[in-house]
Chain length 154, copies 2
């Protein structure tokens, strides 16, 4: 096991024992150095988005002063849930090392697999009802965005 994954496990156990949330940890590494680490804090932070990967990414980006983690790797104790995999994509991280599977997480009661099923078969998504309200404000907003002089993409 790479040392970085071991660090992620230590982070996970500390957080779990402190009652911060589930048994999940992650570290973000750039050029062989840990620049962000995190563990699940859903319970202690009253924040359903405070998963280990999200916390580690936010810490890394804060440390580097950028929203772009291109060239970094993330080591996480468990296969990322859809939210965290999306976060990894937006952070432009292209390599993920993970220490256990979604099946193992499901076996101890975490819902990732049900969420992935809802993503894979959107037409059978029973978790969230999506209601589209087509309206002119939307097109006006896109237009204003395209006309902005100092528009920054991410």
């Amino acid at each position: 096991m790479p040392d970085f994954l071991d660090m992620a496990y230590k982070e996970a156990e500390q957080g779990m024992l402190a009652g911060d949330g589930g048994p999940f940890g992650a570290v973000v590494v750039k050029d062989g150095i840990i620049i962000g680490k995190g563990h699940n804090r859903v319970i202690s932070s009253h924040d359903s988005t405070a998963h280990a990967e999200i916390c580690a990414i936010r810490e890394a980006e804060s440390a580097l002063g950028t929203h772009d983690l291109s060239g970094c790797e993330i080591y996480t104790t468990c296969y990322p849930c859809p939210m965290c995999l999306g976060a990894i994509m937006w952070a432009r991280i292209t390599k993920v090392y993970y220490g256990s599977t979604s099946e193992q997480a499901a076996a101890v009661g975490f819902d990732d697999q049900a969420f992935y099923r809802a993503f894979l078969t959107p037409e059978s998504n029973q978790l969230v009802s999506m209601v589209y309200d087509d309206n002119p404000t939307s097109r006006l907003l896109w237009q204003k965005w395209l006309e902005l002089d100092d528009r920054k993409m991410y």
Copy 2:
């Protein structure tokens, strides 16, 4: 257009004009009252996870002092990206009103569609390389989790 979606558009435009990030806004509503609002702050916060929906969910959960937004609705200016749809699921929000489509977002340069494709066909995911490292620490951690006396699920 419902008034709540209009509020989300106002939030989006304010954020965009302030240079905080892309033209996206969202509000979380419980029993007809806005309990959280947010706009994209990826640029100003150096935080790739600071999408409108995530910001609105975090504000709502902080206001209520819980990670569980069951019974709430979210109004968002654009169809949620995979990260935000995952966040909506974890927050246990079951109804999403959205004002424009992923196709419209793609037309002005936002990558959501490519991300969704990577989710729908994981075997052809060229965005992120996933490396599984099976190891005993993982099983030990799950075991410790299951043996915790005050284990809280979310």
